[in-house]
Every structure is written in structure tokens, then in C-alpha cells.
């Protein structure tokens, strides 16, 4: 189990700031006037019942919604230190995705070798020098706590790995390009408890290197891994704060009902 510091320094640098964010799937408004900071090199958890918009919110951060027609953003997500609104029409979504990586709910390795999976982000950026690739692949696999398990079989298909290993491979793939921020969309919902524990431990270690935003429907997980927690319901941000405070003495009755299991 991961120890959470009881008092997180509130004076952390914000890596991103969400300002009055609305999001629409066609005419359906999925996110309503969201506003919160995301602190640098901290873990921020998004919790809430199914359909509350937490995944939708997460996917705004790497402009995943741009892949599908009819989606529309309003408002801002400002990314620091550049102070760029990554939702602006003038900002290329590919630029955003090159800065902010994502790990998905279901492990989605490519049907390629373990090595090529991790190297893909670098190849997309035009890197083809063998030495650099080898170095970065090893570093990413080490950071994803997978190196020792796969060092002798980098050329084997990624599908030969177990579910938990596949998810750590996807984390390595996301880390290989030195992202400024890492998005996790319920990364352990398809995994068994042991694999889940290893991923949680990994997230705890990773926050020294990268800012993490994680969606989870598992409240214990949010309590274990995160420094800050946002509780969402029906597309609205009900409460945001330091994780300990949200879980020990939430300000809102709604939040309390959810985290104590009386609702949701």
C-alpha cells in the first residue's frame, strides 16, 4: 500500500489549469463549467459514478475528442509553463499529444514486438538512430518496472505478455517520449488485484518525474495513489481538494455520500 503524505504543500506549481470548460457530444453537454488546477509532479485523481464525465474530461487533455466528428470544446485548459490554451483551434491536437501521453483502460499494445511498441512514439517523432532508440526503450521499460521481465525478449510479440505486463508496456510506451503529463483512464479496471497493485506502485514512483492525472472508479485506489482528488457528478465538478481532506472531511454532503458508499 502506498503512503500518502498527509499534508500536500498547497504551494505546488500548477502544470495545467482548467478554466470554465464545457464539452459537447453533438448537442449533449457532457461537461459543465469545470475549473480546477493540475499540480506539477503530483497525482490528481478524477472520481465519480459511471457516466459522470470523468473519462470525457481526461480525454480533453490530449484532444482525443478531435478524432470524432461533432465534438466541441468551450473554455480553456492552459498548459504551463508556456501558458498555451491546448483546446484552442489554433493549437494542433498532434502537438498536444506529443506533450501529453495517455494510458488507456484496456491495455492496447500494437501487434508488434515489445521493442517496437515502446519505440513507436520516438519513431513517430522521426527518431531512427539505433543507439538512441535502444537507450530510450530501456529507460522507459525501467521506469515502467518492466525491464527485468522483458530484457531478454524484446523482439517477442507484445501479445505474449500478461495483462498487467501489457499495461506496464503501454505505460513504458507513453513514457518513452518524455511527456510533460501522463493521463491514465482507469488503467487497472481490466487487471487482477496483483497487477493492479504493481501499477499503483508504479504510479506512485512516476510522480517524481511527471504530472499525473488519473481517472478511477475505485475510491480506495484514488485514496492510495493521489495527492489531489476531484469528485464529478453528471458532468459537473462537485468538489476538488487535497485527497486526504476529500476522503476524511469532504465539504459537500454529495461527496461524502459517494465516498462512503451510500450512493454510486
Amino acid at each position: 500500500m502506498v503512503a500518502v503524505p498527509s499534508k500536500v504543500a498547497a504551494a505546488g506549481q500548477p502544470k495545467a489549469a482548467v478554466k470554465d470548460l464545457n464539452f459537447f457530444y453533438g448537442s449533449f453537454q457532457a461537461l459543465k463549467a469545470l475549473g480546477m488546477p493540475v499540480y506539477e509532479k503530483k497525482v490528481t485523481a478524477l472520481i465519480g459514478p459511471s457516466g459522470c464525465g470523468k473519462s470525457t474530461f481526461l480525454r480533453c487533455f490530449n484532444r482525443m475528442h478531435d478524432l470524432y466528428p461533432g465534438n466541441r470544446y468551450e473554455g480553456e485548459i492552459r498548459l504551463y509553463p508556456d501558458d498555451v490554451n491546448i483546446l484552442a483551434h489554433t493549437v494542433d491536437p498532434i502537438e498536444v499529444r506529443m506533450r501529453i501521453s495517455m494510458v488507456f483502460q484496456k491495455p492496447n499494445p500494437f501487434p508488434k514486438s515489445i521493442y517496437e511498441n515502446v519505440a513507436y512514439g520516438l519513431r513517430v517523432r522521426g527518431e531512427s538512430r539505433r543507439v538512441t532508440l535502444n537507450e530510450k526503450v530501456e529507460e522507459a521499460l525501467r521506469n515502467a518496472a518492466l525491464w527485468d521481465e522483458v530484457r531478454d525478449r524484446l523482439q517477442e510479440p507484445a501479445f505474449n505478455l500478461s495483462g498487467g505486463q501489457q499495461q506496464r508496456l503501454c505505460i513504458a510506451r507513453a513514457l518513452a517520449t518524455d511527456p510533460e503529463m501522463l493521463l491514465f483512464d482507469e488503467p487497472t479496471s481490466a487487471l487482477d488485484p496483483i497487477a493492479t497493485a504493481s501499477i499503483e506502485e508504479l504510479i506512485h514512483d512516476l510522480k517524481n518525474k511527471v504530472t499525473i492525472l488519473i481517472v478511477t472508479h475505485n475510491m480506495q485506489q484514488a485514496a492510495r495513489v493521489s495527492d489531489y482528488t476531484a469528485y464529478m457528478y453528471l458532468g459537473e465538478l462537485i468538489e476538488y481538494g487535497v485527497t486526504d481532506e476529500i476522503f476524511i472531511k469532504p465539504k459537500k454532503k454529495q461527496t461524502e455520500d459517494y465516498i462512503t458508499g451510500r450512493f454510486g
Binding site: P69, P111, G121, R173
Partner: protein, 308 residues
Amino acid sequence: MAVSQRLVEIRRLIAAHKRWDAIFGVVGVLALMLGVLTFAALFIDMAIDGVPRLTGDFFTNFPSRRPAQAGILSAWVGSTLVMLVTAFFAVPLGVAAGVYLEEYAAKNWVTDIIEINITNLAGVPSIVYGLLALGLFVYQFGFGQSILSAGLTLALLILPVVIVATREAIRSIPQGIREGAYALGATQWQMCKDHIIPYSMPGILTGVIIGMARAIGETAPIITIGALTFIAFLPPAPVQAEPPFVSFDWVMSPFTVMPIQMFNWTSRPEAAFHQNAAAAGFVLVLMTLGMNAVAIWLRYRLRKKIKW
């Protein structure tokens, strides 16, 4: 006794229902046998007539007025070269069109109309393609009655098959793979070139070979564009002794193909030529079966590596 009476009733019902099971089983076997046995009878009859003619000479001789000396050299070489040209044009065009429709094109009424048209094109009688090709390739483009014209005609004919196979294969790729690639900063083209096209290759290849197996037996459009029925020379060799070593003169050469050779022999009065036709038909069926076997093998080989 109420319970056992209920049981008797249930058993009677089951027996009545199972009678239909048995009846359908018999009908099904009959339906299947009708198809399989008809093909087997045709194939065996052809084999009995033709196999004695299958000597080495049969494959290395040109057609002749004397049935015993006549062979299928120009026909099988012609068929092979036409198939090469067909594949050369149909595969890139079909794959590009399929990838565009699935990955790039917006889903609106224009693409719906294009989709309906592609499905309809697959059903257009092949002789209509022949007429189109006669006007377009033979006269308008001036390709003449050449291997190139025939290859292009058959490429048009199988293009819908290749496009449909490509789209089917692409649709079976999970959305998670696309999102995974995009999330790493890939552009649409990087995603297609590194993921969509390689992963859909087994399906595409299967579609291509099934299309080619259809094309190799096509007669009507090839006759329409004016292929020769009697040809006693081979197209110029693609490889030469002097630089630049490779020659593409063969694409403009006159030619014949297997089904035309068969058609020619069956229209002769002498029974000996009919044996030649049976032998050529036997070879043509084997070529088709061979291509289908390759398709099955490729699908098996490549699918083993990719599982979702």
C-alpha cells in the same frame, strides 16, 4: 400419476421437435451434395478426358493445327502476365481506396453513395467492363489489344472486391489501436502506414487472391478487347542481356489466355481438340484452386501473429 403424465407429454413434444432436426439434417446434406457432387462430376469428367494430354510438351508447345502437337504455352504465359499486370494495378488502387474510405473520408451521404456504387460495381457483368475497356484502354489510350489493356480491364473488374476486402479487414481492427497510435502523436498517415495497412494485410491478401482467382477465368471481357485466339509466339522477355536489362515491351504485346485457348479448342469439330480443351480446363481449375490454397495459407499464417 399427474407427474408422469406431464413427463409423457414433454417427451412426446421433444420427439416431435426432433423429427424436424432430422428432416433438416437430411435436406442440408442433400443441398450440400448437389453442389459438391456436381463440381466433382464436372472435374472428374474433365480430368478423365484431359489428364492423358498433360505431358511436358503440352505446357511448352504453341497451339497447332494438329491436336496432338498443340499446347498451352502462349496461354499460360499470357494468363500469368495478365495476372501480374492486374495485381500491379488492382492492389495499390484498391487498398488506397479502401483505406481512404474507412480512415479518411467523412461519414456522410457522399460516402454512402460511393459505398453503394462499389457494391453495385462488383455485380456489373464482366462483358460490360470489356466494352468499357475496348473504348477506353484499347482505342482512347491507344494501348491496343495488349497485355496491358487486358490487365487493366481485369484490374477494374476485381477492384470492387479488393476495396470491399480492404474495408472489412480495416473494420476488424479495434479502435483502441487507432487511439493508442494517435495518443503518441501520430498523424493520420503515420497511423495508417504503421498500423492499419500492416494489420489488415491478411484480409486484403485474401480478398486480392479471391479476386484474382475470379479474374483468371474471365473470358468475355478479354475477347471483347480483342485478344488473339491463335498465337504462336511469346511476348518479349522481361529480362535482357544488355542494359538496362529489364524490358517492359511485353506489356504492349498481343497475347492469349487460358480460357480463350479453351474456348478456341472447344469450338473445333475434332474430338482430339476437345481433349486438349479438357486438359487446359483441368490446368485452369488447378491454377484457381492453387491460388485459393495460397489465400487460405496466407490468412492462416498472418492471422496467427495478430490476435485482438
